[in-house]
Amino acid sequence: MTTHYLVLSALLFAIGGIGVLVRRNAIVVFMCVELMLNACNLAFVTFARQNGNIDGQVIAFFVMIVAAAEVVIGLAIIVTIFRTRRSASVDDASLLKY
């Protein structure tokens, strides 16, 4: 069963990665990042059971905390960018290029 869970986790991670690369809406990109974090958590929990060691669950718990903090800051940044540029597209924020 361990392999099944890990393959599912890898699939979800890859789908999230494709989403980050393909989508242009900053909020949707952010959701895809969350999906990748969730996929990692699934792998952590699976390995915790595989090894009979609860440390994996603790790490997954910390990942969740960091993800929550990241969402708060990320969404605040998106709102700030939207306020100045009237757009939530990642293509529009390209001033650093020039």
Partner: protein
């Protein structure tokens, strides 16, 4: 056996929801799809002897994080859809190729590993999942736990700083606003009074009832264009309102 069935059902659900997240046009659908993925992952945690994480997943992710996402989505504008213009030529195609290649790489790599039968968490969880997690968090990981609290405080402060807006100019007073309205009336002929509400002088005050002028005609300003267009499609539109709309379209 029960676990196998649960796994396959939830695997199909979560992968298709994840694909929906990537491919659906509307951002709100994306958020709902992400919610489905998170809920199915919560059940998978519960199946894998991690009841505490399952509860935290539902409370933190589907509860707090998803609500925050939806909140910002409504703030930023629900209809802010993706632009279809590619800034880098062929970027979408190569992104999908790279993603599929990565999935194949990891899946094959993991698939080729032969795992010993899972040890299981029966012994560790004997005292209960939450007490054994708490023991680890407050002994071996206590420093990480303290750092986490600093991180959360920093995040809260950061969000407040980012969301705060300095007022650069004085707020317009009511006097200035009304002066502005009448200047506009004088220069452009825009009526200074508020728009007539729907249903004024009419027998009903539903939003789809246009206001009547004293001479019984319909006030153009009070016709809700959105509802009128919808009603025109349905064929339930008031003929008088339809006249006004027709006059506009031409």
């Amino acid at each position: 056996m029960g676990e196998t069935i649960t796994f396959w059902v939830l695997a199909v659900v979560s992968v298709s929801a994840a694909l929906g997240l990537v491919f659906s046009r509307k951002a709100v659908y994306c958020a709902l799809m992400l919610g489905v993925v998170m809920l199915s992952l919560a059940i998978l945690y519960a199946v894998q002897d991690a009841p505490f994480l399952a509860a935290v997943q539902i409370i933190v992710y589907t509860g707090a994080v998803m609500m925050l996402f939806l909140f910002v989505l409504m703030l930023v504008g629900v209809d802010s859809s993706d632009s279809l213009v590619e800034t880098i030529r062929g970027q979408r195609f190569w992104a999908v190729v790279a993603g599929l290649a990565f999935a194949a790489l990891v899946a094959l790599g993991v698939g080729n590993v032969v795992f010993a039968p899972a040890v299981g968490l029966g012994a560790v969880n004997a005292a209960g999942n939450v007490p054994s997690l708490a023991e680890l968090i407050f002994t071996r990981y206590v420093f990480a736990f303290e750092v986490t609290s600093a991180l959360l405080i920093t995040a809260a402060l950061g969000a407040m700083v980012l969301a705060h807006r300095e007022r650069l100019e004085q707020k317009a007073t009511q006097r200035e606003l009304s002066r502005e309205r009448f200047v506009k009336y004088g220069e452009e002929g825009i009526d200074p009074s508020p728009l007539p509400g729907p249903g004024t002088y009419a027998r009903a005050n539903a939003i789809d009832m246009p206001a009547l002028l004293p001479d019984g005609k319909i006030s153009k300003l009070s016709v809700n264009r959105y509802i009128a267009r919808y009603e025109a499609e349905e064929g339930t539109i008031d003929p008088k309102v339809a006249e006004i709309l027709e006059g506009e379209d031409k």
